[in-house]
Amino acid sequence: MRLVMDTVEEEFVEIPIPIPSSTSSSSMAKRPCPSQNPRMELENLLYQFLSLSDRPSLSLDLSFENLLQSMPPDTDLIDRALKMGSLLLDAAKHSSRKRASNHNSIVWPLPPDLTFKIFSMLDTQSLCYVSAACSFFSKCAKDPLCYENLDLTTLVPKVNNAVVATMIQRAGKALRSLKLGVVPATACSPGFCQPMVSTIRKAIVEAPNFSWNDKRSRQGRESSVLTRCCLSPLSGDGGAPGALLRKLHLYNIERMDSTSLCGALSACPSLLDLEIVGIHVELRQTLMSVSANCHLIERLFFESSRTGRDDSLKAQTCSELVNNCPNLTSLSLRGFKLHDCKVRILVKGFRKLKYVDFSSSYSITGNFLRNLGNCNGGNLLEVLILRDCMHLKEMEVIRFLTAILAGDFKLLMHLDISNREGLACEADWYHRCYSSNNMPIKQVLEARPDMRLVAEYPSEGSYAETFDAEMNSDISLQFSSPTSDGSIFMSTSESSYNSDHGSGNEEGQDAVIYGESSDEDNNMNL
C-alpha cells in the first residue's frame, strides 16, 4: 500500500533582516534564531537570497556585474554563479516535481495494484492516453496485466507493426487475447448485408483525410499499415507472448498471407478462439495449421476474403482437424466452397460441436444433414446457420425439417435457412424456390416452440431490395456463440455468384452418401 502523506508544513526560521511586505501567497513565517549549525547557516543564506525576489527594484544582473567589476580579473565568479544557479534550478525543479507527485498521490489514492485493475479495463487507446497523463500512471500502465486483452482494431488503417510489437512486448506472458485489423463501424450494425471486405474499402476511401496515395508515398517512412510480419512478436521472447494466448481475432489485414498467419498460429498452442475475417489466406492451409498447432481450440470463425473463390478444402484436412481438435464447439466457415462430404466429416466428427455457420458458402446442398440427428456429432447441435448458401436445396431443407419433427436434433435452438435468392430447386440449381409453402415450417414451430427458425426469402422476382427491407424490419441477426464474447455476427450475403459456379460437375461430387443411410437414401440421385 502506498502511504498517503499529510501536507507537509513548511518550517521557516526568522532572521533579523527587514523584508518588504510580501505579495506572494506563501508567506514566509517566523524562524527562530540561527544556531551555529552550518546546515542551518546554509539554509538561512538560501532563504535570504530567495527573499530577494520580493524586492520590487531587483536587478540581479546589474548587481552581479557590479560585483564582478570589483573583483580581481582572474576571478572565477562567473563559473561559480553558473554552477550555483544551475544547482538551485535543479533543486527547485526536483522539489516541485516531488510536491506534484505527493499531490497526485492524494488525489489518486489508489495503490498500484488497484490502479492496474482499472487500467486493465481500459481499451488500448485509452491505456496509451492515460499513461501520458502522469508518471505514476505511466508506470502503472506498463504493467503487463493492463495488456492482457489487446484490442488494436481500428475503423481505418491506423495501427502499424511498431504499435503491435510494443503492445505485445508489454503484455509478455500475460497476453490472453489479441484483436487486430480494420473493422468499419457500419459492419457492426445488425442486419447488415454487405460483406466486410468491400465495405471496408468503401469506408476507408470515404474516411476524412485519408488517401491511398499518402500511404504509398510514405513507403520506407513510418506508415499506418500492418505488414505480413505484424504478428511475429508473438513468437518473440522465446514464444512467451503467444504461449498463453487464448483469443486471436484478425480483420482485413491486407498484406497478411498464409505463411505469416501459419507462423503466428504455430506460436499459439493454447488458442481457444480464432476469428479470421477478410484475410487473403487459403482455407486448407489455415486449417492444417490449426490442426497442427492449436489442439485446444473451441471456436473457429473463418470468413473468406474472396467470397466463393476458395475451393482449397480437402477431405483429409477435415479428418485431421477433427482428430486433432476434439474440443471444437463452434465452427463458422463463411464464403467458401464446401462440399457436403467434407462438411459431413466436420459436423459428424466434432463430438462437442454446438454451433455451425456455413453462410454464403457454395456447393453444399444440405445433403450433409441427412441422418445426422441420431448419431454422434449431430445431435448436440444448438445452432445451425445456412444463410445464403446458393446451392442449398429446398428438398434437403424439407428433409431436415421433417427429421426435426420426427424428434431429431432435440437441442437445436436456432436454425437459419434464409436465402436472398430463394432455395435451389431439385433438378436445376438455377431455378429458385421462393416460397416456404412446401416446407413444414409452421409444424416445426408448433412442435418446437423453443426453437427460433429464420427462413426469409424474397418474393419471386424481387431480390435485394425486399430482402434488405425484411432484414431491417424483421428479426435481427444478432447471435452469440457459446464461447464468443458476444460479438455480433453479420451475414455476408452479397452474392458475387456467377452462373458458372453451379456446374454439373460440382453437383456430381456430392453424390457420395455415407454408411448408415437408409435404403431410401441409396435410391436418391442428385
Binding site: 506534484a100 489518486w108 489514492p109 488497484l114 485509452s126 492516453y129 501520458a132 508518471s135
Partner: protein
Amino acid sequence: MSKTVKDAIETIPTDEINSISLSLVRSEILTKVIEYCKKHNSAQMSDVDLMDWDVEFANVHYTTLFDLVLSANYMNINCLLDLVCGKIADMIKGKTPGEIAKLFDIKDVSTYEEDN
C-alpha cells in the same frame, strides 16, 4: 459477499464475536457498501433491473468511487470492486491525457524520477 467478513466469521468462534473490526472503512462509505450488499443479496430484482441499479449506484463523485474501491478491496467484495473500477475506467475512456489529468486534478510530473 465480503470475503473479509466471511473469513472473520469463519475463523472466530461464533459466540465470541461481538464486533468485526473494519477500521479502514469510513462510516458513510460503509453505509453505501451495506446498501450494495443488501440489494444484491435480496434477489428480488431481475438482472436487467439490478444492472440499472448498479449504474445508478456508481453514479457518484469520483472521490466517493475511490473510497468505495479501497473499501471493497479491503472487505474483499469482488463484484462491487469490479463495478466501481469499471466506472472509473469508463470515466477515463475516450479522454485525452490532458483531459484525464484535469479530471482527477493530477499535476504533470513529466520528468520526475523515482528516488525512493
